[in-house]
Amino acid sequence: MRPETPPEILLPATLGEALASLGERAAAPLAGGTWVMRAPLRREPFAPAYVGLSRIPELSLVEVTDDAIAIGAAVTHADLANALAGFPEFAGLRLAAGSSANPAVRSAATVGGNLCTADFAAADLVPALLCLDATVELAGPAGSRLIPLADFLAQRTGLLPGHILTKVVVARTGQRTAHARLPLRKAGDYPVAIVSVAMRVDAMERIGAARIAVGSVEATARRWTGLEDALLGEPLDGARTTGIAGSLLASFNGRDGVEAPGWYRVRVLPALAGRAVASLVAA
C-alpha cells in the first residue's frame, strides 16, 4: 500500500516553524516513527507530509525542579527511564518507560507519540501519567495551553490536528508509585492490562489518598475511582487489595483483541492491583 507520492518529511529547527508547516500542508507530526511506520501493516494511509520533531531542542528535555518535572514530548522512553533513575517517587513511571516494548523501540519511541496515538489502547505511559495527575502542554496556531491529561485523552482526536504536544508536567508530591503490567510473554509484546498507582501513605502504613489508573483494558486508559475510594484507610497489603478489587469490576467493559478477549483483561485487574500495591510496601 505505498501511496502515489511518498510523503515528504520536514525537519524544522523551531516549534514555530513546525506549527507553520503543520498548518500549510495538512501534515502530521513525526516523532520516533514507531507507530507511523507501521501504518501500512494497519492498512492505513500515510499523512500527505510529516513534520519531524527531532531537531527542536526544547522537545527533548527533561527538567526537574523541587516542585515538578517537565518531560519534553520528543523524549524517548529510554531517556525518560534514565532521567528518572534518581527519583524513587517516580518508580511507576520509570518502570513504564523502561519496560515497555523492547530496548531498540524504547530508544526511538517518544512520550508524545505514546500519548497522542488515540488508536493505541495498550500504551504504558498513559496510565502511568494518569495516576500522577499529569498535565500536557499543547501548542497550536493560537499559542500554548495546559490541559489535564484526562481531558486531553477524552478529546485528543479533536484537539490534535494542527497542534503539537510539547511537554508533560507532573507535580512532585512525594507519593509512592507503581506500575503493574501483564504482557503474555515475559516481555516484548503489548501488555494485556495495566494498573498504575500513586498513593500517599500515612505513618501507620495505611493508604491516605490513592489515584489508580487502568490501561489496555478499554480503548482509552482511565482512573479506577471505585477502587481508589475503597482503599482509603486500608493497609498496604497486596492480597487484601486483590480481594477488595475483585468486587469492583462491574464498570469495566474489556476490549476484545488478538492477544486476549475482553473478559480476560478485566479478570486480571485485581491481581495487577494487588501486585502494584504490594510493590509499594517495599518502597
Partner: protein, 155 residues
C-alpha cells in the same frame, strides 16, 4: 531527496524517498543484506543496526530521520577474515541454527557486551535481548555465549 549517511565508516550519498525504511535503503540501495526485514513491526530485531552506537530497528526508521548519522551494520561490525569475540563465542557455544535472527543478534550482542549497559547475568542478558526473536535455538546458548564474552572482557 538526497540523503547522506555514514555507513560502516564510509560516507554515502544517495537519493531515496524520505519515509523509506532504513533497512530497505541498506539492502536495496547499498547492497548490505545482513539486516533483514522479517516482521517490519519492531518485534523481531532481524533488521537491527547501530545508529550513533544505539541498537535501532531499521524497519521502523524512516531514512530521513537518520540523515547525517553514523550507521553500523553487521557487515561493519564483523570482518570476513577473523571472527569477532561475539562471533567466536556463538560458534564455540554452538548457538547458531538457521541464522535468520543472527545478523540482528550479533548487532545486539556486540552492543550489550561492549557498552557497559548490561549486567553480566542471565536475567539482564535476556532482558536486553527481548527485541531479538529467535525461532530456533531457545536462547540459552546465545545467553551462554554473551556471558562468556562479558566474562572474558572482565579478565
Amino acid at each position: 531527496m538526497t540523503i547522506r549517511l555514514t555507513v560502516n565508516g564510509e560516507t554515502r550519498e544517495f537519493a531515496a524517498a524520505p519515509m523509506t525504511p532504513l533497512v530497505d535503503v541498506l539492502r536495496d540501495g547499498l547492497h548490505l543484506t545482513g539486516a533483514k526485514p522479517v516482521c517490519r513491526e519492531g518485534f523481531c530485531g532481524a533488521c537491527m543496526v547501530l545508529v550513533d552506537a544505539v541498537p535501532t530497528v531499521a524497519c521502523l526508521t524512516p531514512v530521513a530521520l537518520v540523515e547525517g548519522r553514523d550507521i553500523e551494520t553487521v557487515e561493519g561490525l564483523t570482518s570476513g577474515e577473523s571472527p569477532t569475540p561475539v562471533q567466536a563465542a556463538l560458534e564455540e557455544h554452538d548457538a547458531v541454527q538457521c541464522g535468520m535472527c543472527f545478523p540482528g543478534m550479533v548487532v545486539a550482542l556486540t552492543h550489550l557486551t561492549t557498552s557497559g549497559t548490561c549486567e553480566p547475568n542471565r536475567a539482564a542478558v535476556k532482558e536486553a535481548l527481548v527485541g531479538n526473536v529467535c525461532r530456533c535455538t531457545g536462547y540459552e546458548r546465545i545467553v551462554d555465549a554473551a556471558l562468556a564474552v562479558m566474562e572474558a572482557g572482565h579478565e
